[in-house]
């Protein structure tokens, strides 16, 4: 591999660079520090400016404190390196004898205090505005759960889960990584531009933290409690963030994607969601009104399994230790079917096995149970119908 291949590739697409020879070539180019200027283009050296008034004011605060630190640093390190060079023994053999001066001590206690007061004033004003959650136009309840977000529009009565949509193959380096690797979801949060949106955060299990850097909104989602934050975005667009509180195994795979659309478009979208919910209801009625065959259920079940179950129980059903038990040959997947259904619908309290009843349709649950009982070498041969799931709920 050419040492500069990585360098040449980066503008074209950083995602291509994951295989071992490239690893070596990248190390080489890193050694030459040639790769750094490219990083500036890809990521930027600075805190993000963002798209809200608050995020821009925070960036200004960041700049103020950064430049004060730089200025103090230049003075202190300047003096230090001056004395390191000027007062070395070879040029300055006789040390001076002073070791106390109250005047100097008072000066260098007072000056930093004044600088700090100067920094505290704008910070206090900004903080007060960040905490002003009043008079919101739209309220969204954000619930973290291992490892996805649930968004509920409190007044419109609409709610949905938002799962990461990056395929496992990209994570396992079997496929080229996409542009928004790990920062893409199936259902983004949609909010209107130009209106004040209030976010209430809570959690179903452990503490998560909902962060969109471009809004400068980072709020912990704490089980049993609700926190609030707000934003007002003027520029429509798609903004990406991540969970920022360690929340278990798949903490890295819990992205936040927010789509900001003009207010009229937002209203249309809300209506569409209502219609979609009704259609889903009708589809569910249709699904449970007939019997499904093994050939129909297995591919649906496999897809559901890979999306929702495979990160813990593994794509081949081998599981990961006692926390994430194997599916292959397990007591549940090869035991009585009603126990299996109960486990999937209701989960296990206080473990990472969650209740899927509120998250998946009758058909999906029927299919995934059928799949688990007839894949990975399990051959129970039994079929679970959507109607059975409907009646078990």
């Amino acid at each position: 591999m050419m040492p500069f291949r990585a360098f040449a590739c980066i503008p074209a697409g950083i995602g291509a660079l994951t295989r071992l020879p490239v690893f070596l070539s990248r190390s080489l180019s890193v050694g030459l520090l040639l790769v750094l200027p490219q990083s500036i283009l890809a990521q930027g050296w600075d805190m993000r400016e963002g798209v809200t008034d608050i995020s821009q004011r925070i960036q200004t605060l960041h700049h103020i404190s950064l430049f004060i630190c730089l200025a103090v640093g230049i003075v202190v390190f300047g003096a230090m390196f001056y004395t390191i060079i000027a007062h070395r023994r070879s040029v300055h053999p006789e040390p001076a004898n002073f070791h106390e001066s109250t005047k100097v001590e008072v000066i260098w206690t007072l000056i930093p205090t004044l600088i700090l007061i100067g920094m505290a004033v704008p910070a206090t004003i900004t903080l007060r505005d960040i905490e002003d959650n009043s008079d919101a136009d739209v309220t969204v309840l954000i619930t973290g759960s291992q490892w996805k977000w649930h968004y509920q529009y409190v007044d419109a009565g609409i709610g949905f889960y938002s799962n990461m949509s990056t395929p496992t193959e990209q994570i396992n380096n079997e496929q080229e990584k996409g542009e928004h690797y790990l920062l893409e979801v199936d259902n983004p949060l949609v909010i209107p531009s130009g209106l004040k949106v209030r976010f209430l955060t809570s959690s179903d299990d452990v503490i998560h933290s909902w962060w969109v850097p471009d809004f400068a909104v980072k709020q912990d989602a704490i089980p049993g409690f609700i926190n609030e934050a707000w934003t007002l975005v003027d520029v429509p667009g798609i903004y990406r963030g991540q969970c920022t509180e360690l929340c278990g195994m798949n903490h890295a795979y819990m992205p936040v994607v927010v789509e900001v659309v003009p207010a009229e478009e937002f209203n249309t979208w809300i209506e569409d969601q209502r219609v979609a919910m009704e259609l889903a209801g009708e589809a569910a009625v249709a699904a449970r009104s007939r019997d499904w065959s093994m050939e129909e259920l297995m591919p649906i079940g496999e897809a559901v399994y890979l999306q929702h179950c495979a990160t813990c129980h593994q794509p081949d059903g081998s599981g990961q230790g006692i926390t994430y038990p194997a599916q292959a040959g397990s007591l549940i997947a090869t035991g009585p079917v009603d126990v299996h259904i109960d486990r999937v619908l209701n989960g296990v309290v206080d473990t990472e096995m969650q209740a899927w009843a509120p998250q998946l349709s009758d058909l999906d649950i029927a299919a995934v149970i059928t799949y688990e009982r007839n894949a990975f070498g399990n051959d129970m041969g039994d079929l679970v119908q959507p109607l059975t799931i409907y009646n078990s709920r």
Partner: protein, 213 residues
């Protein structure tokens, strides 16, 4: 052994004991932080913890909200939210998402709960209010969250909360959010029979009224 050495030994022992007592005291202090934290939360409204006890019903002392001073005419919005703890086979939601009410006016709202498991299940609702410092102005006269709720398999019921918002609510609060999270109560920790009924007598009445078996 000289006197100086014995003196020193005594001093060593005294210092060591004193420091050990400090260490043990700090261990105790860690536990004392728990009640201290709760007091701190009540004062500052940290986390929106609300009092677990019923507030006196002001409706009894002030027959109608009209007669209360002018400030009572201020209206605020109260939003209702509900969460179900993960792995709990219940449906649990407010029957209305928000009400607009006057300060000091006792209001009723209902939360709906249904147990879709095929066994009976006990739950305990834990309230949280936001903004946090509004928690001390939201007074619950009666609440299903004061007691544990037991639902038979497939049973459903409407559970009432009677509350009012204190007239001293700071003027910068226009919207309060009241959220309940329903947690499972493990069978081992079921309360002594009769104990919860005394606290929420009306509750058991509502229970029989609304439940549909």
């Amino acid at each position: 052994m000289t006197d100086r050495q014995t003196d020193r030994q005594a001093r060593l022992r005294r210092h060591t004991t004193l420091l050990a007592v400090v260490a043990v005291g700090m261990f105790g202090f860690a536990f004392a932080l728990v009640p201290l934290y709760n007091i701190f939360c009540e004062i500052t409204g940290l986390n929106g913890k609300t009092s677990g006890e019923a507030a006196p019903n002001i409706a009894a002392t002030a027959p109608s909200s009209q007669t209360i001073s002018g400030s009572a005419e201020r209206e605020v919005t109260v939003q209702f939210l509900a969460h179900v703890s993960r792995g709990m086979p219940w449906e649990f939601r407010p029957t209305e998402t928000r009400v607009r009410l006057q300060l000091g006016e006792v209001t009723e709202t209902l939360y709906f709960a249904r147990n879709f498991a095929n066994t009976e299940f006990t739950g305990q609702a834990v309230p949280s209010v936001t903004p946090g410092y509004a928690a001390r102005y939201l007074h619950k006269v009666e609440c299903f969250c004061f007691t544990q709720q037991e639902l038979a398999a497939g049973e459903e019921m409407d559970m009432p909360v009677y509350f009012y918002v204190g007239e001293d609510l700071p003027s910068d609060i226009g919207t309060l959010t009241l959220s309940y999270t329903m947690y499972p109560v493990s069978t081992g920790t079921r309360p002594v029979s009769g104990a919860p009924e005394t606290a929420g007598g009306t509750m058991s009445m509502d229970h029989s009224e609304h439940s549909v078996l």
